[in-house]
């Protein structure tokens, strides 16, 4: 008899647990599956807005789009996107854009996983190589016609819009990626070194002039080996050694990584390391630490990119900051003034979204707004973000630093994608390893080039 009592008690316990679980389920599914997409609520005010738009009777049918961003906190770390989405939704009350932010590493995993289970969002940021993989698998929508018909191509700075091999457009570039050196004019003046962008140093001048810093115990270039990708400027050196000209042949196997021009590049990287251009503890420092130390006055230059304009503006010597594309190479390939100038990432629209005409139109409406005059203005003036589109507003309203750095984006240097963005997905890591290995003296130039070729062969 007592046994039955106990069974009852255990049963009741189970029941209670199931209750707890289902309660949890309610709170969570309520957020994701109800008609009102409160999930977008990055802040309270925007969720209020949604509720309003859902309560008010809207004449058109409401279209809801999901947008995945590769940062966790969109409002703060991608303010341009956040403000554009808000403004767009205000202008188009029948369109709701659900923003989902994920930290960049997890974002890639999420995109891969979602593609496998058919849960891709309508629009998402994609790494260029990932975009190509998804395109090959048929997950992305062809944007070519829409881009040309709507004239979206005219909004971009020349050379930035990327055409695929079959002259189609699947990814729209976003967030200016121009790798550059920021330099501290105070330190340059202190040691009587001329400004590199004014004197247009070539490689040898670069190395030799920087030895003054080395002799005085000042690190010439701050950079962080714990962030392997912090070799963006090195990638623009490789561009100057003909990478964009050779990549198609390399991808198709007609040409080897072990060629004279790339070996010259790797030799220069070896010299870079041997001549103490980097901090001595580069392997235990990440990019963020390197940048913060430079802002604090350590080191003559920092290897970075135009994306860091807001951070370097916080330095005490902010009005003494110069920007430079890096040296030109006498033994380079083609035009000496070529560099990495593109979108850090791109936006793709999924094939699933394109099946629904209303959705696809709304998505393209959004991009037309986003890349257009108003979207660019919002980025520059309200979001303090540099874009790869043409800014037609009054530049004198911007801070001098933002003007200087912005000039790098639309000067006459020819722009290309990052080398790693032209390689197959997953090859970037091997490339980082090769370049760092040469700079740190762990690999010879020959070994590094062979390692890259071996990766292509496998």
């Amino acid at each position: 008899m007592k046994n039955i009592m106990l069974y009852k008690r255990i049963f009741a316990f189970f029941l209670a647990l199931i209750l707890v679980l289902s309660l949890a389920a309610c709170t969570s599914s309520g957020a994701s599956s109800s008609g009102i997409p409160s999930s977008e609520s990055s802040t309270t005010d925007s969720s209020e807005e949604d509720e309003e738009s859902a309560v008010e009777p809207v004449s058109d049918e409401v279209v809801t789009l999901t947008l995945w961003e590769y940062v966790a906190d969109i409002e703060r770390t991608a303010p341009g996107v956040y403000l554009c989405v808000k403004q767009f939704m205000e202008d188009h009350p029948n369109v709701i854009i659900d923003m989902v932010g994920t930290a960049s590493e997890e974002h890639n995993k999420k995109v891969l996983l979602a593609s496998q289970s058919g849960d891709l969002p309508d629009m998402t940021t994609l790494e260029w190589s990932m975009m190509r993989e998804l395109k090959a698998e048929g997950f992305l929508a062809d944007l070519t016609d829409e881009v040309y018909n709507r004239g979206i191509d005219d909004f971009f700075v020349p050379g930035v819009l990327q055409l695929e091999e079959d002259n189609t457009i699947y990814g729209l570039p976003y967030e200016a990626c121009v790798c550059c050196y920021f330099y501290n004019k105070e330190i340059f003046d202190q040691y009587n070194v001329g400004y590199p962008d004014v004197e247009e140093w070539n490689w040898d001048e670069f190395i030799n002039n920087c030895q003054v810093f080395v002799e005085n115990g000042v690190t010439p270039v701050m950079c962080g080996g714990l962030s392997p990708w912090n070799i963006g400027i090195q990638q623009s050196f490789l561009v100057r050694y003909g990478f964009p000209d050779y990549i198609e042949k390399i991808n198709s196997g007609e040409m080897s990584w072990v060629n004279d021009d790339f070996l010259h590049f790797f030799e220069k990287m070896q010299e870079y390391g041997e001549k103490n251009m980097m901090p001595s503890n580069v392997t235990t420092m990440d990019y963020f630490q390197a940048l913060d130390q430079w802002i604090g006055g350590t080191g003559a230059m920092v290897s970075s990119g135009v994306w860091a304009v807001n951070q370097v503006a916080e330095a005490e010597f902010a009005d003494q900051i110069g920007v430079w594309h890096g040296p030109v190479f006498e033994d380079g390939v083609g035009d000496k003034h070529r560099t990495v100038k593109s979108g850090t990432i791109c936006y793709g629209v999924t094939a699933k979204c394109a099946e629904d005409t209303a959705k696809f139109n709304a998505a393209m409406d959004f991009f037309e707004f986003f890349y257009g005059e108003e979207g660019t203005r919002i980025h520059y003036e309200e979001g303090n973000t540099l874009t790869v589109t043409k800014y037609s507003g009054d530049k004198s309203k911007l801070s001098p630093l933002l003007q200087n750095v912005g000039a790098l984006v639309d000067d006459d240097w020819t722009g290309y994608l990052l080398c790693t963005d032209m390689m197959p997905a997953g090859t970037a890591d091997v490339f980082y390893d090769a370049v760092w290995g040469v700079m740190l003296g762990n690999y010879t130039p020959q070994q590094a080039a062979e390692q890259m070729q071996a990766e292509y062969d496998s």
Partner: protein, 281 residues
Amino acid sequence: MALHRKRFFEKFLFYFLVLGIAFIIMIPFIWTFFLSFKTDSEIFNTPFALPTEWSFKNYRRALETINIFQMYKNTVIIAVSAEVLSLFFTFMSSFAISRMTYKHKAFRNGIYFYYLLGLGIPVYILLYPIYRQNAFMGLIDNLIGLILPHIALTIPFNTLLFVGYFNGFSSEIEEAAIIDGCGLFKMLIKITLPIVKPIIATTAVFNVIYIWNEYPFAATYLNTKDLFTVSLATSMFKSTYSRDYSGMICAVILIMIPELIFYVCLQKYIISGMTAGAVKS
């Protein structure tokens, strides 16, 4: 008198040693606390100096960026439901493994080692398959999609601890209860449970801390900000090209405090289950 002095000296030495060691262990935490008041530039340029300004600016910014209380709530829901179920299940199965008699001894060992296999599973093996399972059951972006796997993931650890603990005890007391005509579940609750209290408390501490800090699943399976768990808090301060270290450190402190409180509350239960021969009959 001499004895007294010796006693005092011994006591002093003991405290000096124990508190000293504890303090050394704790230095990184204290340091983190100081760092949470510094600016990013101070953190990297003068890491060992005290903050120049004792203001709660960083904390205010951190609290504006993350909705920490919503995160606490979500994590507590996940941790409590997963934890209660997992403890309940493994308590039963470990009892069965350790105490029950089997016709084939291999069965007992088989099922025990079957669970222990789970200890060696790197969590990244599970990331994709469990996503698929969740997608199949419609549990993406849903807290249940985290609760259920967490139950499964804590089973090996709990089994190891429980079975080990059960084995360390002789089953005399339980046998006696059975002879007195006690049923299985009554015995489990009235006799066995009090005995294993220390290990339940220990297991609960580590399971909850594990779930509290679990990052890869939470980051990949949740989309909606309202469902984020505390372990995602630090990622809110990162973007590809910038990192708000001071905000992140504040978030780390905010994540840690409930864990320490939880530990303080539970460590009281890590006490002797067999109090002074009371159960010896």
